[in-house]
C-alpha cells in the first residue's frame, strides 16, 4: 500500500457490499471513517505509512450492516460506488458514502491481511 508519486497505486482489494439500514429518516451504514487529504495523517493508528492520507475505517458498530457485510476496523477504503477514495477530503468521502438516494454502497477495501494471504498463496506455488 505504499504510495510512490507518479505511479498508480496497486493493492489487493476486497469487494464489500453494504446495504444501508433505514433508521427513521436516516440511512446508516454502521461504521466511522477517518482520514482525508485535509487531515493529519501521522495520527492515523491504522495506516502503515504515516503519510498515507486515505480514508480508513476507524470503528465498526457491532451488528450493523457494515459488520455484516464484512467490513473490519482498519480497512482502507479505495473506492465507493466507483468513486475514488484515495485522494479526497474527509467531507467529500462522507458525502459519497451518505447519498440519500442510494441504498447500497459497494466498497473496494484493502487491508494488510489480504496482501499477506495473496503472497502466501503465491509462495505455495
Amino acid at each position: 500500500m505504499s504510495f510512490i508519486p507518479g505511479h498508480p497505486v496497486t493493492a489487493v482489494v476486497q469487494r464489500i457490499e453494504i446495504h444501508k439500514l433505514r433508521d427513521g429518516d436516516n440511512l446508516i451504514l454502521g461504521f466511522s471513517i477517518g482520514g482525508g487529504i485535509d487531515q493529519d495523517p501521522s495520527q492515523n493508528p491504522f495506516s502503515e505509512d504515516k503519510t498515507d492520507k486515505g480514508i480508513y475505517v476507524t470503528r465498526v458498530s457491532k451488528g450493523g450492516p457494515a459488520e455484516v457485510a464484512g467490513l473490519r476496523m482498519g480497512d482502507k477504503i479505495m473506492q465507493v460506488n466507483g468513486w475514488d477514495m484515495t485522494m479526497v477530503t474527509h467531507d467529500q468521502a462522507r458525502k459519497k458514502l451518505t447519498k440519500k438516494n442510494e441504498d447500497v454502497v459497494r466498497l473496494l477495501v484493502t487491508r494488510k491481511s489480504l496482501e499477506n494471504a495473496v503472497r502466501q498463496s503465491m509462495m505455495q506455488h
Binding site: 466511522s32 477517518g34 485535509d38 487531515q39 493529519d40 476507524t58 458498530s61 451518505t98
Partner: protein, 634 residues
C-alpha cells in the same frame, strides 16, 4: 651498606616521630638546617652506631637519642618523643598489625590489612604511605592542616608556609606519627644519601627565587631607559660639543621639540605599562615575544647610534634641524615598536582561537576555557589564574570510597600452585574459576556503594537541616540597634555590643551543629573556629541573613577563598609538557600542571570554524493550520 640502610631507617623514624604533633616546626627547621649544612657529618655519625640488631626498633630508638646532640633541643620534647616512640614500638612489637584504635577514618584502610603482613615486608601500607609522605617532604613546600595544634612545616626560603590548597585530612595527620615507627627498612623506599643532597640542592636553588622574578623587568627597564634617553642625547650632544657652529633653527624646531616631548611621554608611560610591571608568574623559559621585542629595540637604538656617531659626531654636522628630525624619527620608530609590542603581547591572545579543557586528576573537576594564540607557558599561567577562581577547592578527604566497600574488593583469593608439572589445565581452570568468582563477588560492591552513597546523602542533609535551623535561631537573638532606640529605652537597658562580641555571643548555640556538619562534609580542615567567628562577625556587620552566612559552608568554594594572606611568596606549580614550553598552542597538545598531590591536565582543541549563513524570513510567512483528525460515522 647495612649501615646505610639503618641510617635511612633512622631518617624515616625522625620524620615520623617529629612530624605529626605540636611544637614540631622549630624542631623540623633545625633538623633541616642540620641536613643542609652538615648532613655528611651526621650521617657518618649515624652509620658508626649502626648495629645489626635483630629488632630494628631498638636501633631506631638509639638513633633518636643520638640526634639530640647536634640540635639545640629541649630535653622535655625529646623525652616526650621518646615516650611516644617507646609506646609505639611496644605496640608494634606486640604484632605488626596491632595499632591503637584510631578515630573512625573512612579513608584509613589499613586496620584490618596489617594482620596479613609482617613488619619486614616491603609492601606494607605504611611504607607505601610513608613513601608518599616522603615524596612530599622532598619537595619544597609542605602542607599541613590549618589547625593550630598541627602546624608543622618545612620552611624553605621563598616558599609558602601554609599551603591551603593541598591540605590533607586531619585523619591522616593524626595517625601518621604512630604508623611510621613500624617502618620497614627496605633500601628502595627510604631516603638515601643522594635524595638528601638533592633536597638540599633544591632548597639552595630556591633562595634566589625573589631575584629571578624581577630580573626580567629590570633588564627591560634598563633597555627602555637607554632607548628613551637616546633622543635627548642626540639633541643635547651637539649643543654641548659644538654649540657655536650650529645653525639656528627657528619655529619648525620648536614644533619638533613639542612633538618629541609628547611622544617621549607616551613612550614612557606605555613602556612602563607593558614591560615594567612585575609579572604575576615566573615562567620556566624565556618569554619569547618579550625577548624579541627587546632585541628589536636594542637593534634599532644601536643602529641609530651608529649612524649618529658616523654622520653627526664625526663631521660635526651643523644642520641642527636635521639632527632634531633624526631624533624624532627614532622616537617614531620606537612608537611603532611599542605598537607592535602591544599587539603581540596584549591583543593577540584576546581573540579566542583554542578551547582548553582542564581536568583535575584527583577528583575529575573540569572546566573549559577559550583562549587566543598563546605559547604553552603563557597558556599555563592563564589557566592557573582561572583555576584559583573557578575550581572548587581540592579536598583530599572526599576522594576515597568508604572502607567497607573497598575492603571487599581488595581481599582477593590467593592462588598457590603447588608445583605440579602437568597442572596447566588445572591452573587455567582454577584461574578462570577465580576470576568468575571474583566477578560475581564484585557484583555486590556496587550495590553497597549505592546504599552507602544514599546513606551519606541522607546524613549530610540531616546535618544540614539541623545547621540551618540552629543558625536561623541564633540570628534571631541579635538585632541591630537603631540610633533612635539608644536614646529612648530606659526601661530595658540592653547591653550594647560591637560586632565581635555579638558574633561570639551567638556562636555558642550553633557551634555544635556547625561542627557536626563540617565534619560530615569533611570540610573541617578549612574552617577553624576563629575563622567561623570572623565570618559571622562580617555577616552581622553587613546585615546578612543566615542563608548568606551559610553559603560559605554549604558548598565548597573556589580555591581562592581558602588562600592565606602570604600570597607574596607564590605558589609552586610545575609545568609538564612534551613540547618545548615556548611553542605555540595547537590542536591536540596536552600539558599538565603539577602540584604536590594533584595535577591539572590541559588538552587543547581548536575552536571550530564557523560558517555563518543568512536566511531571510518574511514576517508575513508565519501561518498555521489546525491539525485535524476527525472521525465521522456514516
Amino acid at each position: 651498606m647495612h649501615g646505610e640502610g639503618t641510617s635511612r631507617i633512622h631518617f624515616h623514624c625522625v620524620f615520623g616521630a617529629f612530624e605529626g604533633r605540636s611544637a614540631g616546626a622549630g624542631l623540623f627547621h633545625t633538623l633541616l638546617c642540620v641536613q643542609r649544612s652538615a648532613h655528611s657529618a651526621v650521617w657518618k655519625k649515624r652509620s658508626v652506631l649502626s648495629s645489626p640488631s635483630a629488632s630494628k626498633i631498638d636501633s631506631l630508638r638509639s638513633k633518636v637519642e643520638l640526634l639530640k646532640l647536634p640540635l639545640t633541643l629541649s630535653s622535655k620534647s625529646i623525652s616526650e618523643r621518646k615516650t611516644r616512640l617507646g609506646g609505639a614500638t611496644e605496640r608494634s612489637r606486640g604484632g605488626a598489625g596491632a595499632h591503637k584504635p584510631r578515630p573512625p577514618a573512612p579513608d584509613m584502610d589499613n586496620e584490618s590489612q596489617y594482620s596479613g603482613y609482617s613488619y619486614k615486608s616491603s609492601h606494607s601500607r605504611s611504607s607505601r604511605k610513608h613513601r608518599d609522605r616522603r615524596d612530599r617532604h622532598r619537595s619544597k613546600s609542605r602542607d599541613s592542616s590549618s589547625r593550630a595544634d598541627k602546624s608543622v612545616t618545612i620552611q624553605a626560603p621563598g616558599e609558602p608556609l601554609l599551603d591551603a590548597e593541598s591540605t590533607r585530612g586531619d585523619d591522616r595527620d593524626d595517625n601518621w606519627g604512630e604508623t611510621t615507627t613500624v617502618v620497614t627498612g627496605t633500601s628502595e623506599h627510604s631516603v638515601s644519601n643522594e635524595d638528601l643532597t638533592r633536597a638540599s640542592k633544591e632548597l639552595e636553588d630556591s633562595s634566589p627565587l625573589e631575584c629571578r622574578r624581577f630580573a626580567g623587568p629590570v633588564l627591560s627597564g634598563v633597555l627602555g631607559l637607554f632607548a628613551l634617553l637616546t633622543p635627548l642625547a642626540f639633541l643635547l650632544l651637539p649643543q654641548l660639543l659644538w654649540r657655536d657652529s650650529l645653525e639656528p633653527c627657528g619655529t619648525p624646531c620648536e614644533g619638533l621639540y613639542v612633538s618629541l616631548a609628547f611622544k617621549l611621554l607616551v613612550l614612557l608611560i606605555s613602556s612602563w605599562a607593558l614591560f615594567l610591571r612585575p609579572p604575576r608568574a615566573t615562567l620556566p623559559r624565556f618569554f619569547v615575544f618579550r625577548c624579541l621585542l627587546m632585541a628589536l629595540v636594542f637593534l634599532f637604538v644601536a643602529s641609530y647610534w651608529l649612524f649618529y656617531g658616523v654622520r653627526v659626531l664625526e663631521p660635526r654636522e651643523r644642520d641642527y634641524r636635521g639632527i632634531v628630525g633624526y631624533a624624532v624619527s627614532l622616537v617614531d620608530a620606537l612608537l611603532f615598536i611599542q605598537y607592535l609590542a602591544l599587539v603581540l603581547l596584549e591583543v593577540r591572545h584576546l581573540r579566542p582561537a583554542f578551547c582548553l579543557k582542564v581536568v583535575r586528576t584527583t577528583d575529575g573537576a573540569s572546566r573549559f576555557y577559550s583562549v587566543g594564540h598563546l605559547s604553552i607557558q603563557r597558556a599555563a599561567v592563564w589557566v592557573l589564574d582561572h583555576y584559583y577562581t573557578d575550581f572548587p577547592v581540592y579536598n583530599p578527604a572526599l576522594l576515597n570510597l568508604p572502607k567497607s566497600i573497598l575492603s571487599k574488593k581488595m581481599s582477593g583469593f590467593k592462588v598457590y600452585s603447588l608445583g605440579e608439572e602437568n597442572s596447566t589445565n588445572n591452573s587455567t581452570g582454577q584461574s578462570r574459576a577465580m576470576i568468575a568468582a571474583a566477578a560475581r563477588r564484585r557484583d555486590n560492591s556496587h550495590n553497597e556503594y549505592y546504599y552507602e552513597e544514599a546513606e551519606m546523602d541522607r546524613r549530610v542533609r540531616k546535618r544540614k537541616a539541623r545547621l540551618v535551623v540552629a543558625v536561623e535561631e541564633a540570628f534571631t537573638h541579635i538585632k541591630r540597634l537603631q540610633d533612635d532606640e539608644a536614646a529612648s529605652s530606659p526601661k530595658h537597658p540592653r547591653e550594647v555590643m560591637d560586632p565581635r562580641e555579638a558574633a561570639q555571643a551567638i556562636f555558642a548555640p550553633m557551634a555544635r551543629a556547625m561542627q557536626k556538619y563540617l565534619r560530615t562534609t569533611r570540610q573541617q580542615p578549612y574552617h577553624s573556629m576563629e575563622s567561623i567567628i570572623a565570618h559571622l562577625q562580617f555577616c552581622i556587620t553587613h546585615n546578612m541573613t543566615p542563608k548568606a552566612f551559610l553559603e560559605r559552608y554549604l558548598a565548597p568554594g573556589p580555591t581562592m577563598q581558602y588562600q592565606r594572606e602570604n600570597g607574596s611568596r607564590g605558589r609552586q606549580w610545575t609545568l609538564v609538557s612534551e613540547e618545548p614550553v615556548t611553542s605555540a598552542l595547537r590542536q591536540g597538545l596536552v600539558f599538565s600542571l603539577r602540584r604536590l598531590d594533584f595535577a591539572l591536565v590541559v588538552t587543547v582543541t581548536p575552536l571550530p570554524f564557523l560558517n555563518l549563513g543568512e536566511e531571510f524570513i518574511d514576517p508575513k510567512s508565519h501561518k498555521f493550520v489546525m491539525r485535524l483528525q476527525s472521525e465521522t460515522s456514516v
